[in-house]
């Protein structure tokens, strides 16, 4: 019963986010601020993780190729497929659920605890539009983060493969170009957009409707990470089934 109520309250929140808009000049300022907080500030960690995980994928593929008949170009091929199809869109989104999701929940939750949200409401401002809408818009730029992650993941794979002595550069590049299906990029970016909406709204819901004090803000942040991750994994499964299985 509680879950049904929560689901209902989540969708009602989404409806309110798009009602009674805040003044455009103020919204513009808020959107730029959110892009800075949610997108730009995440680039460092995304770049670091992408580069090294790409490298690990490349090494793991190379070390599991016992049969001499399998071409070395498979290392590049496997790295590309892993990074584009799953690592960059899904794995990075889970990491963002921890970084960005916790940030969103704790910042909105703190505003709830310290009556800042009540202050907005008393002034006649639609607090959900003021707080959540800029986050949804700023996370529309999230696919740019994923592009960077894809590039650096493949780059990390190339560095590890070539400089680790597992493959020549030409073999790796040949693997990258082998059997490339552009539709896979559509699939990757489609699910990235779905994940970006989940990343903006689920942590906002957790923060906005939390009750209690500082301890509950911490609990809400943990719940936010758990639920955002669960929804990303579930959405990933459904989207993959719908877009790739036919």
């Amino acid at each position: 019963m509680k879950y049904l109520r929560d689901i209902g309250s989540y969708f009602l929140m989404i409806k309110k986010v798009f009602g009674s808009f805040t003044k455009t000049s103020v919204l513009k300022h808020l959107i730029f601020k959110e892009i800075d907080d949610l997108i730009i500030d995440s680039l460092g960690i995304v770049a670091f993780i992408s580069f090294f995980v790409g490298g690990v994928v490349s090494i793991q593929t190379a070390l599991n190729m016992d049969n001499p008949l399998i071409p070395k170009s498979l290392i590049g091929f496997a790295t590309r497929q892993s990074v584009i199809l799953e690592f960059a869109p899904t794995f990075i989104s889970i990491i963002m659920a921890g970084k960005v999701g916790s940030f969103i929940t704790s910042s909105i939750g703190s505003m709830r605890v310290t009556e800042q949200i009540d202050a907005l409401e008393v002034m006649g401002i639609n607090s959900l539009n003021y707080l959540v809408f800029p986050k949804i818009v700023s996370l529309m730029f999230y696919p740019f983060v994923i592009v960077i992650s894809m590039f650096l993941g493949i780059m990390g794979g190339w560095v590890a493969g070539v400089y680790g002595g597992f493959s020549s550069s030409s073999d790796f590049v040949a693997g990258l170009q082998e059997s490339f299906i552009p539709y896979h990029l559509f699939y990757a970016f489609f699910k990235t957009y779905v994940f970006s909406f989940i990343l903006a709204t689920v942590p906002s819901w957790q923060g906005y409707y939390m009750k209690g004090g500082a301890l509950e803000v911490g609990k809400a942040s943990t719940n936010s990470f758990v639920w955002t991750s669960v929804l990303i994994i579930a959405a990933n499964y459904i989207i993959t089934q719908l877009l790739l299985s036919s």
């Binding site: 310290t114 008393v122 002034m123 006649g124």
Partner: protein, 254 residues
């Protein structure tokens, strides 16, 4: 003026407000007092339109809040200033941006004009050279004063204060009380203060409304408090020895 007529509010099976009827006068500091759990904050939230009463009506000047459409309610809220218990300043904004916030949201003034008004109200609450500081960098008393500045910057008709001097030392609490009263007279606004602080009642209680278990049990001025023999008033006010002694002195002096 704000008129409250037979307001009832419940949460689940529990009735919190049981038919409150009173008036809050323009140009006066109106105090709602009572013990914790008496329904003060619920009444305040009903006045602000954050809670919708199941029964009864609340009039702002001549129009009931229940009869207002969304646009009218939004316009009314632009005319309301609110001082929250903890200040409720926006952490991500500096003092200047906090005070300027209502002007940015509801007016089309140029930035220079807004800044001039911000400096004017900050000066009025005796705060200068704090414009670029963040709320976390100033004291609790200063935060309350910034909050008052934000509440009055857009020249409201109604000012609401929720426990304005909680957590402050007696001297700063007196300063905040005095400031609220001065601003009420200066701007000729209707001020409603929720408090359980008897010092506030004695200092600025031009009209006092006592709530007990969700019912209005007494109303009058702070001077009348000493003269009344209403049991609820005496039980609430004279739970403190200090006020018992003050009452004895007042009675002796006639």
């Amino acid at each position: 003026m704000i008129k409250v007529e037979d307001v009832h509010k419940s949460f689940g099976d529990e009735e919190i407000l049981k038919g409150i009827t009173t008036e809050f006068d323009k140009g006066k500091t109106n105090l709602i007092i009572g013990q914790s759990g008496s329904g003060k904050t619920v009444l305040l939230k009903c006045l602000l339109g954050l809670f919708r009463p199941e029964q009864g009506r609340i009039y702002y000047e001549d129009k009931a809040i229940q009869d207002m459409d969304d646009e009218e309610q939004r316009k009314l809220r632009e005319e309301i200033g609110m001082l929250f218990q903890g200040g409720a300043l926006f952490d991500s904004m500096n003092i200047e941006e906090n005070v300027m916030f209502p002007l940015r949201m509801f007016t089309k003034q140029k930035k220079a004009d807004m800044l001039e008004r911000v400096n004017e109200v900050l000066k009025r609450v005796n705060l200068e050279n704090v414009n670029k500081k963040f709320p976390a960098e100033i004291s609790g008393g200063m935060q309350k004063r910034v909050s008052i500045a934000r509440a009055i910057v857009n020249k409201p008709k109604f000012l609401f204060c929720d426990e304005p001097n909680s957590g402050l030392d007696p001297k700063t609490a007196t300063l905040i009380d005095t400031l609220i009263q001065e601003i009420t007279h200066e701007y000729d606004i209707t001020t409603v203060v929720v408090t359980h602080d008897m010092n506030s009642v004695m200092e600025i209680g031009e009209k006092v409304v006592l709530l007990k278990h969700g019912k209005l049990v007494w109303q009058g001025t702070n001077q009348e408090i000493f003269k009344t023999d209403n049991d609820d008033v005496t039980n609430f006010v004279y739970s403190s020895d200090l006020f018992k002694k003050i009452r004895d002195v007042q009675l002796k002096e006639g």
